[in-house]
Structures are given as structure tokens and as C-alpha cells.
Symmetry: C2
Amino acid sequence: MSTAPQRGFPNTEFAARCAAAQAAMARRGIDAMLFASEAEIRYFTGFLTPFWQSPTRPWFLVLPLTGRPVAVIPTIGVPLMSQCYVDDVVSWASPAPQDDGVSLLAGTIRKIIGGTGTLGVLMGRETAMRMPLADVMGLRASLDGIGWTDMTADIQAIRMVKSDRETAKIRYVCELAEDAFDAVPEWVSAGMPLDQLFRDFKRDALGRGVDDVSYLVGAAGAGGYQDIIAPPSTRPLANGDILMLDTGCVWDGYFCDFDRNYAIGTPSAAAQQAHHRLYDATDAALEMLRPGITPQDLFVTMDRILRPQGAAQGGGDDVGRYGHGLGIQLTEPPSHTDWDETDIVAGMVLTIEPSLVFDDDRLMVAEENVLVTPDGATLLTRRAPRDLPVIG
Amino acid sequence: MSTAPQRGFPNTEFAARCAAAQAAMARRGIDAMLFASEAEIRYFTGFLTPFWQSPTRPWFLVLPLTGRPVAVIPTIGVPLMSQCYVDDVVSWASPAPQDDGVSLLAGTIRKIIGGTGTLGVLMGRETAMRMPLADVMGLRASLDGIGWTDMTADIQAIRMVKSDRETAKIRYVCELAEDAFDAVPEWVSAGMPLDQLFRDFKRDALGRGVDDVSYLVGAAGAGGYQDIIAPPSTRPLANGDILMLDTGCVWDGYFCDFDRNYAIGTPSAAAQQAHHRLYDATDAALEMLRPGITPQDLFVTMDRILRPQGAAQGGGDDVGRYGHGLGIQLTEPPSHTDWDETDIVAGMVLTIEPSLVFDDDRLMVAEENVLVTPDGATLLTRRAPRDLPVIG
């Protein structure tokens, strides 16, 4: 049992994150960045709260070319944000009847940029502006003379490479979740309804020290499962089932994301073979993973093992890819697909997530979490065995 | 102990929801609605999954003027969506290198609307387009000849009024959470670190049958607390503390949202008095709550008790309002503020959430969940006592 890392980050960490963004801004001729979503606001300031689940209020962060960011947020967030890495906290009583922070935000941006200049915004892949579309358009209109430039690739490139402190949090939550997976055969048996199993898994993981079992999906079916994103049914586990559990547990705001498969009783030969193939594909990915390769390389290598008859486009038949980044979010760039040519570098935390279809319509997915090192890669998970673990 | 309601909804429920939206569309001259966010896609189809936590893939739903909606979604969601209330499921392998569903969506909308017409979109208060801004602009450009009209108010008006089946789910999760709150004094005591308390509360609530403790915030401090959205500290509870826990537990995709305050040892007179005042404000709100009044009425009535010296604008000093709607989301419209003139009708589920500042900088919040009935209102929670419950 490992000990928990320190919670939070020192200001030096946020300073380094902002400096990296500011260097990218300087390269691109950006005068200020606007962030309007949870992941980036947390990444640059340390503002950690489950309050984002309330869609009522917008939250904004403006990062100038030098210095700390300025938060433009609802009054309810001032006590917490004031303890974060910010230069200033500008606030208003939200929800407001008409102008819910938009003029205040526009004024803050104007103060930094002036009459003309360029605002960096995230408008690309895997992003979304967490504010009403009418307000996006209103903001754009009121920032007349200021151009908007997409900075998605630059900010994602920064966030993809984790610091040691980030990695330590992910490693720790991986260990706690792995302990929970390891214990599953001790308390799960045929006859247990899947929804009860989910509830008990969450309780077990919380008991081991995770802050939240934010994400838990899974499935069980005779000879294999077909759907990997549905909530649990009330169907009791039966002998001959293959059970899969995939969890994104969270510790101090950082995710793990991996799954484990189990056979309830003796598995079919086809299911066992599928599990072997996923294991071998993972092996091949782990063997090649090092700085300098691309997610595309990982995809091609795994796909040759998973679909030796030839591949369709894009990624796994149903899943769309064979893994991705993770960290503050359950899934982050890059994507292990046949088109993602991101340069893999040391410090990236990735999932290796091969999937395949067998017996016509059965799906099987395996997943591990790894840290890219200067020489290769280190597993953050303990690795599923090649043979399906048997329950009962 | 009440028994759990049936999970899910019959198709008649989704048909009624779509019909209500289609009636609003007909009134406004809308040819099709576009939905791109979790709450609405679930509301109109029953598509329930935690997979939304992955920001990678966009998901779309198009509702024509008649008939069932058409889903335009990543392949990974097809098995689950095919079991939902949809006419057709159009899918693509996502994430895609360039055109991540946008052309497919534009084509689907064109097929329904034709060359010219009007698309209804949510772009107002409390909404956000869950897709990259560049794709929003690309979609708009490729839908040349089709106007976009904001339908936020119409769709919110429909969602605000809950069916009996929705209410049953909220009532059930309120009961489970209330049982968890009631048990707190049995296992919490001075010396327990707040983060441990949070973890144990989640385990307890899961043990009672909630699907998730999706939202748990709280605070404890000598004589009162100051921040109501921060994650728990590791500080042990001490005699003289006021402890507050506020939870959004989920059952079958529906939230409760209420809090409870506790005194660790004998509370200060000021804290006790604050709790009394919150109770009295809640009483006044419950007494007046019935169809025909507005959230503004609730605000004014509560504010007179909470801030007899005179009110600032907008809502509670720091919180911004004295309650809101809830259901699929932790917080939904309306907002109990001095400006929200929504017509309250039977079937609305609301929080009554007075807050006040005392002893200069201490905040206290109380919260109950209520169902508006034809004659008045029924508590879904069991109501906090007027005196602060004392632990130890």
C-alpha cells in the first residue's frame, strides 16, 4: 500500500503552466487567452470544485501575456478562487437577469488587450465553450477590433505532458483502483445483480481512499458483452458470463481510466482467445511505446494483432480508437487512431485500450494506463493477466 | 424504507416530451430542433450513460416537427441509443481526423428541413453547445439558408414541469439521502478529518441505494463556515465547529440537492440564531409556495427574513439566489432571485435554499426539496429541525 501524495500543487507548478501557455501565445501573436471550461481553469489556477455540475453560472479565466491569470467568476466562487493562482478575482452576483458576466469579461479582456489585438480561444477538437452560444456571439460582437485565434493544439500540447506531481496523483489513484479490481473475485459471484455489483465496487474503492468513483461503466453477458457505455442492468451475473468493469476513479482531481475483464465460471474458448489477443496487442504497444513514436504507430501495431484480416478506417470497429491521454479529464488527447500523428514525448500519461469484436457481435476491451519515460514507458496499472481471471 | 420506483420510462413518456417540444416548435415556426448536450438528449430519448464525462466525442439529436428524434452519434453509442426513443440512429467512427460528425449532422438537418427553414437551438441562459466552437461555426456556414432561433425558454419551460415518474425518482433519491443525513450523528465525531467524513458519507449513501453521490460539498469551521463549494480539507472536526454537507445524490439519472447543518458540540448563539432564521425563511417560502406565484415572490419573502436591514441586488449576498429547479441536472431553472418571474406551476420540483452571512464573514445555507402541487407544495425532503442538530 503506497502513501498518498501531497494534495494540491505549489505555485511554482501553476507558474510553469502559465509560462508554457504564455510562450505559445508569444509564438502565435496572442495577447490574451480566454478559458471558459473546468479543465483549463483548474489547470492554470488550481480551482478544484464539484460545483461545475451546476450548469447555471458561467466561469471565465483570462491569461495575459505575462503574470498570473485573472478570474472573472460568480461571487459564490470568490472565497475558493482567492486561494488559487490568480492575480485578481473579478466577480458578479450570478445568475444575473440579463448580462451574466459577459460585459465584465469583455471589460477585463479590453483592459489587457486594448483596442486591437488577438484573443486566444479553445475552439477545436475535444473542446466546448461552457457558456451560452448567445453570450459567445455577444462577447465576440463587443470585442470589436479583437481577432479570435484557435489555440486548442497549443494548450493541448502543454496539458498532454504531465509534471511529476500530476503523475504521482494518477499513479496513486491507479493503485487504489487496481486494489479494488484485484478484490473483485473475493466478493463477486454468480447471482449478484450488476447494479448491486456497481454500488459495492464504488463503496470498496472509496474505502480504499479514492475521492470519487466518478466513472464506472461495465457490462456482463453470456459469452461476452456488447455494450460498454450503458449503466448497469439489474440482471444477476450467471455462469458463462464475461464481466467487464471500466472505472475512472479520481484522487485530488486526477483520473485513472482502465478496465478489467472477468469470467464467471469457465470462459468460452472464444472469449479466452479474445482476452489473449487483447493482452498481446497491449504487449506490442508497451514494447514500442517511447518518445518519438505517434499514436498512429500504436494504432497500426495493435490493429495488426486485433484485426489481422485488415482494418477498417479510424480505429477499433466500435470504439473508434485504441487508447488516449488522461489526467484532469477521463479522456484527453491524443487518440490512438490511424490518423493521430502527435509526437509522443516523455511525461505523457496514456491509456492502451485495444478492443475487438468476436463471435459476431461480442465486444471485448482491455485497458492499461502508462507513463511515457525518456527511454520507454512505465505501467501505472499492474497489468491484467493474459488469462481471464475466473470468478467462482 | 420506501421501495425503489421502476427504472427508466415507457415510450409514452418520451412521446409526450417530444410532443410538447414539437408543439412549441410549431408555435415558433421551427422546422427542427438541434440538441447537443447530455440533459436534452437524455430527456427526449432516455439515453443514460456516464460516458459524457469523456469530452472527446460530440453527440447530436435532431427533433423533427413530427415523429421521433434522429440521433447523430459516434459508433460507440449505437448499441445503447438503438434501445432508446429514436426513429433512426446515424453514426460515424469518432474521433474522426477532420469532420467529426459535422457534415453528417448538417446532412441530417437538411434532409428534415430542406433548403430553407428554421433550426431551433439552445443558446440562452444555463445552456452550452457541447461541441467545438469551430464546428458550431462550420455547421452554421454549411446550413446556408436555414435560420437559427433560440428555443431555450420553450425547452426549459417543458423540462421544468416534472412527470409523476420523474417526481417519483427524485422523491426516492431524496429519501435515501435524508436517511444518510439522519445517520451522520451516529458515526461522525470531533477529531474526524473532513475528507474522511466525505468518503464515509458517500459509502453510506451508496449502501442505502443511491446510484452515485455525484455531488458532495461541505465545510466546517469554528463558529461557522465560509466557503460552500470547496473540496473537503484534511482538517479534523473540532468542538465548536459548524459542519455543513450538501449533496446531489443520483438515482436512475435524477438528482436530489439539499444540505444539512450540524453543530459539533454546543453551537454559538449566533450560529443557532442563523439556523433559526434559515428555518423561518424556509417556512415562509413553503407557506406561500403554490401555482401562480413566481421565484421572485419566493426570493422577496425569504429575503425579508434573511436580510431585514435591506437587500442587495440579485440574490443572497454570496450565493446569488435562494433556490432553483432540479431534476436531470443538479440545478435547473428557475432561480429564486429578485428578477426571475417564471410562472410557477404544479409539477415543478424546486429547492428552497436560503442563505445568510452572520458574525461578519460566516455563511450558512439551508436547503430543502419540494414538489409544487395543484394546491400548494409537498416536501420531498423530511425537513431539517429548527435547532441545529448537535453531534457529540
